[in-house]
């Protein structure tokens, strides 16, 4: 077979829309889809790490420093809850919703809303209230990802915990965040907050 006829055959093959073109488009589409989707999820995962959160000084110098003293950072068994464990839902749809809502935080970063400690402290109440409301609305879902009521052994809990958990929590009257505010960060001025 000559070089010319070979080229002709390939060209002819490529020209026929029913076979080559369709396959090529499909293959390109598939490859593109894999790359785009994989890239998207990888980027999503990267923004879901503690390193990413504290790459901004607003987080590292304020909330992260405070959190380091608490039980979710340092404890008996070394199990940790990192920033996204509490602040980003695990389920995909909820996670995307939260991520879209978080674009407001990017705007805050760009405009320097909390770029000093003073500004951060002044703004803490409204940020805290937003987070309390989010957890109240989803029945403290991020707490319950680890702390599952079904498996709580009351005989291992202190008297005070048993009383509260078997009463208000069991009946569904209250959810984790109603009582456990400020367990990982300092609190704002609690004037007027329920139960404070």
């Amino acid at each position: 077979m000559t070089q010319e006829s070979k080229m002709k055959r390939i060209w002819h093959y490529l020209k026929s829309p029913s076979s080559a073109g369709l396959w090529l488009i499909l293959a390109l589409g598939f490859a593109g889809g894999v790359i785009f989707w994989g890239g998207f999820n990888t980027a999503l995962e990267v923004t879901n790490t503690e390193e990413f959160c504290i790459s901004c000084h607003e987080m590292e110098a304020n909330v992260y420093e405070e959190y380091k003293e608490t039980i979710h950072y340092s404890n008996r068994s070394g199990v940790r809850a990192t920033c996204p464990d509490c602040h980003v839902p695990k389920k995909w749809t909820h996670k995307i919703v939260r991520k879209i809502a978080a674009s407001k935080e990017v705007w805050g970063k760009l405009t320097g809303l909390i770029d000093t400690r003073e500004k951060f402290v002044d703004h803490r109440r409204s940020m805290a209230e937003r987070e309390w409301k989010r957890m109240k609305d989803n029945d403290s879902l991020e707490c319950r990802n680890c702390h599952n009521f079904e498996y709580m052994d009351f005989s291992e809990q202190g008297n005070r915990s048993v009383k509260m958990h078997s009463d208000a929590l069991a009946s569904g009257e209250k959810t984790c965040i109603d009582c456990h505010k400020g367990i990982a960060h300092e609190l704002p001025d609690m004037k007027g907050v329920d139960n404070w």
Partner: protein
């Protein structure tokens, strides 16, 4: 400063003199309730005591003793923004939580004026009320509980 060279001389003489009587140097090996340790060694710190997780109220050991805290208080913040103790022991919540109510004496200011809530001077709970660990007293004492005030007639 003329005093510096003078001090150097005195120090020099002292050092040469002491080298003769080195055996008598006091290295501070004094026995205390923490054990004995000399200046040239660093004692190993005692192991930390475990705090009681949760117990019933402890009776007072002497008259006017601030009741001790029979439960863990790790992470309980008491500052101008919030007071974790009062979320159970405050009058508003004590009935619901079953916690001991803050004494009415805590509502009084230093001028004797009674406020509607805990007075600023009595606000910092852990200044007087101490979380208890599983430990024996370091020293003996003769404090007596309130019964000792009874008249034996």
């Amino acid at each position: 400063m003329k005093i510096l060279p003078l001090m150097m001389i005195v120090l020099g003489v002292a050092v040469s003199g002491s080298s003769l009587a080195q055996e008598e140097v006091n290295s501070g090996g004094l026995a205390t309730i923490r054990g004995a340790a000399t200046i040239d060694e660093t004692r190993k710190a005692e192991a930390l005591k475990r705090v009681h997780k949760d117990k019933n109220p402890v009776a007072r050991n002497y008259v006017h003793q601030p009741p001790v805290v029979p439960h863990q208080t790790r992470g309980y913040r008491v500052d101008k923004n919030s007071n974790k103790c009062l979320t159970c022991h405050g009058w508003k919540y004590a009935a619901e939580t079953g916690a001991t109510k803050v004494s009415l004496t805590h509502f009084e200011t230093r001028d004797g004026k009674v406020l509607s809530d805990v007075s600023p001077r009595r606000y910092f709970c852990s200044q007087c009320h101490v979380t208890q660990a599983d430990a024996r007293p370091l020293v003996e004492n003769t404090f007596k509980p309130v019964e000792s005030l009874k008249n034996d007639e």
